[in-house]
């Protein structure tokens, strides 16, 4: 069996033991195909968060997995490492015994929202740098698969910082089962002797997974797709009034703004660049596994990559709100193509052309991401004496050129 078939087999094995949530499982499998993969599962109690976490970890790592439960009293020694007392007593040496969780390829965090902040900080460091520290000693952590789950509605939660959640590549939201699915679950439980997790075989070996991850990393994405992924993330970040640095946040910041009807006005805290990395990884996995990945695939994946990374001005139903924004974004992408924004920018990057500039200005007043690129070109043309500052779109629309766009006074020789 080829490696690709084994990965498809992994999805089949998980789906044969987990009822419903098919798209979530599909995305979860795709997300395993890059090094140091991290997945967060969010759902109310009793929907199958822990089961899904264990199924995927068993399928990928067999018995080489350790699950730390936030519900129990977890100490740092159990998660990171503890001091080897005999070495200290006999030789005066501080030797650290690294915890099984650090050494295991499969790492599970059950009810991560109940994990104490100190342990969470250690795991955060592990996810960020691929290393852990204890007693002044550091160890690199080999490639792993980390799956965490939480019930955000749980009353006994710690509020972990947004950067911690940002380290999770994807966040899956599970739903409860429909009537017919409940019957399916009962049949499955009977079939597997009430133990779905123990019946799960190890489908992919560690070596095979490493090989697959290596191949996925080497996949070259289509320039078109890279462009659309970057554009999608930028649209969820961009703000002509620089909300990232502003003390005043939307909706107050958006009062009187020209772009008030764009999706930027619905986002309080924008996405980090990790959203781009996560989307690129998923796109590469899709190309590797299925031979192609198009814009519609990217929009489907985005629903599992964006919601845990941004804060909305008003949230009624997080997934539905993001889906609505993604639908608007999809139309905007088509509108950009219809207006020939990118061919126009391509023309202008090759040199100033008044006809193209006029059309580009028309497009820019309705598209921040495009306006940002045009403003940069205008700055260049001002320096080249092609354009006067008062003639620019920025001046005429009363926009301010972001301070961080300034070029340094001195260039390194």
């Amino acid at each position: 069996m080829t490696m690709k078939n084994k990965i498809k087999d992994l999805e089949r094995e998980v789906r044969s033991r987990f009822v419903g949530n098919e798209e979530a499982i599909h995305i979860m499998v795709l997300n395993q195909l890059h090094p140091r993969s991290t997945t967060l599962i969010r759902a109310p109690r009793g929907v199958g968060k822990s089961t899904l976490m264990l199924l995927i970890l068993k399928g990928l790592c067999g018995d080489d997995l350790v699950v730390v439960s936030g519900a129990s009293e977890v100490k740092r020694g159990e998660v990171v490492g503890r001091l080897h007392i005999p070495s200290l007593e006999k030789e005066g040496l501080e030797r650290v015994l690294w915890a099984a969780f650090i050494k295991a390829r499969g790492k599970g965090l059950d009810e991560v929202n109940r994990l104490n902040p100190y342990t969470t900080a250690n795991i955060h460091h592990l996810m960020q740098f691929g290393e852990v520290w204890a007693y002044g000693q550091r160890t690199r952590v080999q490639d792993y698969t980390l799956v965490a789950n939480e019930n955000p509605m749980d009353a006994t939660s710690f509020v972990h910082p947004p950067p911690f959640y940002d380290r999770f590549d994807i966040c899956l939201f599970l739903r409860s089962l429909t009537l017919s699915e409940k019957f399916q679950l009962q049949e499955l439980l009977d079939k597997y002797g009430q133990d779905l997790v123990n019946s799960m075989p190890s489908v992919v070996s560690i070596e095979e997974l490493e090989e697959a991850r290596k191949e996925v990393t080497e996949v070259d994405l289509d320039p078109d797709l890279i462009g659309y992924v970057n554009l999608l993330v930028r649209d969820f970040q961009a703000c002509i009034r620089e909300k990232e640095r502003s003390e005043i946040k939307p909706p107050a910041l958006c009062e009187g703004c020209h772009f008030i009807r764009d999706i930027c006005g619905s986002i309080k805290e924008p996405l980090s660049e990790r959203a781009t990395v996560a989307l690129m990884n998923l796109a590469k996995s899709t190309v590797w596994l299925y031979g192609k990945c198009d814009l519609d695939d990217v929009f489907r994946m985005a629903l599992w990559v964006l919601p845990h990374r941004a804060t909305l001005v008003r949230t009624r139903n997080l997934l539905a709100d993001f889906q609505e924004m993604l639908d608007r974004e999809r139309i905007k992408m088509e509108d950009r193509n219809f207006r020939r924004e990118w061919p126009l920018l391509n023309e202008l990057m090759n040199g100033f052309k008044s006809g193209a500039y006029k059309l580009a200005r028309d497009a820019a007043v309705e598209d921040i991401a495009f306006a940002e690129e045009l403003i940069r070109l205008e700055e260049k043309w001002i320096q080249e004496d092609i354009l006067k500052r008062e003639e620019t779109l920025t001046a005429q629309m009363g926009w301010k050129t972001p301070i961080h766009w300034r070029t340094p006074l001195h260039e390194p020789s």
């Binding site: 088509e334 023309e347 059309l359």
Partner: protein, 110 residues
């Protein structure tokens, strides 16, 4: 500084939808490539012919501008009518008072 991949993206887009550039004019050919999601819904047909609307309504700028203009006109008309209504109420009040006074005067003569 411009990324190679960004330039490549722009070039691919430009190849897919080539522009015709002549002196100060730029034009291109429509390939009818807009997806269903971005096509304008037959909004006016639903308004004038009572046809059922789709779940999501997408309208062309000209239709939106027309609706905007009509809303502004209706608002203006509404304001005008409200003023007339106010004046008519005052006039009616005056007439009622005058009629009552006349009746009282007539009764006092009898």
């Amino acid at each position: 500084m411009s990324s190679e991949k960004f330039r490549k993206f722009l070039e691919v887009q430009a190849t897919r939808s080539p522009l015709k550039i002549s002196e100060d004019k730029i034009s291109w050919e429509e390939k009818g490539e807009r997806t269903v999601a971005s096509q304008a819904s037959d909004f006016l047909e639903s308004v004038y012919l009572g046809k059922e609307l789709q779940n999501t309504v997408v309208m062309e700028r000209s239709v939106a501008a027309m609706l905007q203009q009509r809303l502004t006109e209706i608002e203006r008309e509404n304001e005008h009518l409200r003023k007339s209504y106010k004046i008519l109420r005052i006039v009616l009040g005056g007439v009622i008072v005058a009629v009552i006074l006349m009746l009282l005067t007539l009764l006092s003569f009898h």
